[in-house]
């Protein structure tokens, strides 16, 4: 048994002082906004709740209420996180109800859904929540029964003392347990003793979703609430000059029209304060349709801005200076500049051995350049936020991935104290990194402050798609040197993008090749970018895995065996010391996918591509089977192997992998946003191609490596490698390598 010191009673497990000794009736309404009931009517609600710690309440009838601390956008953390608590608490999952925690950093720690870090960061803390509560219940029973605590056992929400035959359900001991100090140390279960973790549990919100209950930010309602929309510049590189608001104010249902500035002068932006359009026009009215009509009639003058620099606080807490150039940029111009970099030297990020000499001596050099365009996130729920600013008091309800990152900005822009901001986190209709950037919350709050009313800000789809925070456009040039015996003697990657480099210098195949060179470059732009499902990896994986496929072919080796040999070298005798992967686990997913896909067996009429990648602490490998029907690629099957350590909720994890695979195939085939004179050329789903039902894989088969390693994330890792699997299968299917995303472009017909 592992004994883990808890940080109890200080920050993480805060008890409300008012509750310190007794029970209380909590006044939450089950059907309001964002709460859920897994077994709703079946569960009788208790008369009284007892708060054991800030995450956990136990009802007098034994019903358990667990706060899901992190916001949800589809990873199913509202199910899997409470599972961690329930496992150690030792309760019947059917008696658990899940509530969404509001933003509260002292009570709920780092409420961050992103970077595939949710489960990983909560793995021990949430189990300690359950384990410490269980210990408090056992202590309460020991005192009541006058027996040693060691003799009090638990089973699915019931306390037992075997020798005396006494037993009580948790609800009966909850009042006493709530008075017991939180223990300083707790024992966590061993993996082999898990009863709940590792079993598939249905989404606790499933019933609410399929019956259309209001759960999302856009569904938020409040008495007297007005609707607000915004108008931002039509092009990157432009800013507000003037608005003609008088005419608009007279339109039916319109209350007010004004401009807002999201940031105070000299405000040092933080990393997630990205916003291409800090000065925008707001329209406030009674109903969405009326505001939409007024928005269409709005006459705004915009003008190009001058180049400027801004200070941005980075993750290390230091300040970066960011150059924002003037000008109206176009994709044709971007592509031409990127193309020049094929022949220029970048900044060296890593160098092992003597790559220059090895390339000079090479019998054969393979050089290929890969590129990918900007992408819009296109969360199905457009950006929105509810805000009610009343003097110093601020109430927010919004879909947001990382509430803590916007609180300081919000407080500064509104001129209020952070302590006066109350923030509810609604369910998000998609996130994918987009909702880590909470500028729309600041906008909603500023609009509410100025309009002196509770407002719900809604972006139209067009506002959403043209707002920026895109996945950048990238390019990577790879070179491989082969000697006369077809041995890989040197490897060179040079990657860059607008406006950031996607390079990970220390990732595979770094560490597996004696002579290795990694270079990078970037070009400033006024088009804003942001995290997009596995940032940078989502391009690098596809480029690298396509190139390795081509090298394996040139060498005359099986695509999987070639990778495994490199990984074996990295394991046995790694080059360099800071290789950013575990070669054994990396090889593990390739071996598993090889076995499960029957890699070596001939697949009739199917063309197969393999790809593997490590990012966000999880390993993923795919084998994709493709056929061509009437000139169109059909993805018949994807076999997938993942090593994310212990899988908390297997079916939900499979769902994540299936989604990442499908989303990745869609972006590989169709995803593209281009610009002309600063204007995004796609504004809605009539022109921005998203994968649809008929294009989705016919079959997806997901396998997990079985081990007892602490869990890592699932939201991002299966996404990047699918781009490589698509490219490699397309080559097998058509005989033509693809280097430029989107692979189908506007043609969408092959051959």
């Amino acid at each position: 048994m592992s004994i883990i010191k808890t940080a109890i009673g200080r920050r993480k497990f805060l008890k409300s002082s008012a509750l310190a000794g007794g029970g209380m009736v909590l006044g939450f309404s089950w059907l309001a906004s964002c709460q859920s009931l897994p077994e709703e009517e079946v569960l009788a609600m208790p008369k009284e709740w007892f708060e054991i710690n800030s995450y956990l309440k136990i009802g007098d009838n034994g019903v358990i209420s667990i706060f899901a601390p992190n916001p949800e956008f589809g990873q199913n953390v509202r199910t899997s996180m409470p599972m961690l608590v329930a496992e150690e608490l030792d309760v019947d999952w059917k008696k658990v109800i899940v509530e969404q925690a509001p933003y509260h950093k002292e009570k709920f720690g780092r409420q961050f859904t992103g970077g595939s870090r949710g489960i990983m960061s909560r793995w021990e803390p949430l189990r300690m929540v359950g384990a410490s509560a269980r210990q408090m219940l056992r202590e309460a029973a020991a005192q009541a029964w006058q027996v040693p605590i060691e003799e009090v056992s638990t089973e699915e929400g019931v306390l037992h003392h075997k020798n005396s035959g006494q037993s009580a359900h948790y609800g009966e001991m909850a009042a006493a347990a709530a008075k017991i100090p939180v223990p300083k140390e707790v024992q966590l279960k061993e993996v082999k003793d898990f009863k709940l973790i590792g079993t598939s549990r249905k989404n606790v919100d499933g019933k609410q979703i399929v019956t259309g209950k209001p759960m999302f930010g856009i569904d938020y309602q409040k008495e007297g609430m007005l609707i607000a929309m915004i108008e931002h510049p039509p092009a990157f590189g432009m800013t507000l000059k003037s608005i003609n608001s008088d005419e608009i104010k007279t339109l039916p249902g319109i209350k007010d029209v004004f401009s807002i500035k999201s940031y105070k002068e000299d405000f040092d932006k933080a990393f997630f304060d990205t916003n291409a359009f800090p000065e925008i026009v707001a329209i406030v009215g009674n109903s969405t349709w009326e505001v939409l009509q007024a928005k269409k009639q709005l006459k705004v003058e915009w003008h190009p801005f001058e180049a400027y620099t801004e200070k941005v606080k980075n993750f290390r807490g230091t300040i970066d200076t960011k150059n924002v150039p003037a000008g109206l940029e176009s994709s044709t111009q971007h592509n031409a500049i990127m193309n020049e970099w094929t022949n220029k030297k970048g900044t060296i990020a890593r160098k092992d051995g003597n790559p220059e000499a090895a390339f000079k001596k090479a019998a054969k050099i393979i050089e290929r350049t890969y590129s990918a365009p900007f992408l819009a996130h296109n969360c199905m729920e457009p950006m929105n936020a509810f805000a009610h600013v009343e003097g110093e008091k601020v109430h927010i309800a919004a879909p947001i991935q990382i509430p803590s990152f916007i609180v300081n900005t919000l407080a500064t822009s509104l001129g209020v104290s952070e302590d006066n901001i109350q923030m509810e986190m609604t369910r998000m209709g998609g996130g994918f990194g987009r909702r880590a950037y909470g500028h729309y919350i600041v906008e909603a709050a500023l609009i509410s402050q100025k309009a002196k009313a509770p407002i719900k800000l809604i972006y139209t789809r067009e506002d959403d798609m043209t707002n920026g925070i895109y996945r950048p456009t990238y390019q990577a040039t790879y070179r491989a040197a082969l000697d006369e015996n077809n041995n890989l003697t040197a490897f060179h990657v040079k990657a860059g993008g607008i406006p950031e480099s996607p390079l990970f210098a220390d990732r595979f195949p770094a560490g597996a090749i004696d002579n290795y060179l990694a270079e990078e470059w970037s070009i400033d732009s006024n088009i804003t970018i942001g995290a997009f499902r596995a940032p940078r990896s989502n391009f690098m994986a596809g480029a690298e895995q396509s190139f390795l496929d081509e090298v394996a072919e040139a060498i005359g080796q099986d695509a999987i065996d070639f990778r495994l040999e490199l990984l074996d070298r990295a394991k046995q005798n790694p080059v360099g010391e800071k290789n950013d992967y575990d070669a054994e686990r990396y090889a593990g997913v390739l071996q598993l996918v090889k076995e499960k896909s029957n890699w070596n067996q001939n697949q009739e009429n199917k063309s197969r591509g393999v790809s593997a990648y490590f990012c966000h602490n999880t390993y993923a490998a795919h084998v994709l089977d493709m056929s061509i029907e009437n000139g169109k690629p059909i993805v018949d099957k994807v076999c997938c192997a993942i090593d994310c350590g212990i899988v908390v909720n297997p079916d939900a994890a499979r769902n994540m992998a299936e989604g990442a695979i499908t989303d990745g195939i869609g972006n590989a085939f169709y995803g593209e946003l281009t610009f002309k004179d600063g204007v995004p050329e796609k504004k809605n789903f009539d022109t921005y191609r998203m994968i649809r039902m008929s294009e989705a894989p016919q079959d997806i088969d997901v396998h997990f490596v079985q081990n007892e390693i602490n869990p890592t994330g699932m939201g991002e890792p299966p996404f990047p490698p699918i781009f490589g699997a698509v490219a490699n299968a397309m080559y097998k299917a058509t005989g033509k390598r693809v280097y430029k995303q989107p692979f189908l472009g506007n043609e969408q017909v092959l051959g």
Partner: protein
């Protein structure tokens, strides 16, 4: 402004508003029925799918004045207790991820099965192609439609 009588999920409602107002916003803003979602406003994503006399329609481009005496069904009225075969199948396969598009997906699937209780894969593709899911739950949706067809 004009007054309209609407039959929604078997109940009559009266609303007074601009005749051009799409049913989506009548439902969401005026009748507090929030299950039908806004996704694109141009009938390209299917998040706003409702039934009009049993036929799947995109409510974001359907003006209130065009409804006349046709009966509207929304996700809230698809079944009394959330137990329509499609809803049951969705739960069985635990389809949703973020969940935002799912009301529209379910409404499209229910309309499909009403017309064609045993659709082929190609028929499912055709009927569901207008509903976008960025989370990529299509393979589960397809499985759930087949299960619903069996429950049906």
């Amino acid at each position: 402004m004009a007054t309209f009588s609407l039959n929604i999920n078997g109940k009559d409602h009266q609303v007074e508003l601009d005749p051009n107002t799409p049913i989506l916003w009548v439902l969401r803003d005026h009748l507090n029925m929030l299950g039908t979602k806004y996704g694109c406003g141009i009938a390209q994503c299917g998040a706003c799918t409702i039934h009009l006399d049993g036929i799947a329609m995109r409510s974001c481009i359907l003006p209130v004045s065009a409804i006349k005496d046709k009966k509207i069904t929304t996700i809230e009225g698809l079944s009394e207790n959330g137990n329509h075969p499609v809803q049951q199948a969705w739960l069985e396969h635990d389809v949703p991820q973020c969940g935002y598009c799912q009301a529209g997906q379910i409404m499209s699937a229910a309309a499909l099965l009403k017309d064609n209780p045993n659709p082929t894969d190609k028929e499912i593709d055709a009927a569901m192609n207008g509903n976008i899911c960025r989370c990529g739950t299509y393979s589960r949706i397809k499985k759930a439609i087949k299960t619903a067809s069996e429950i049906g």
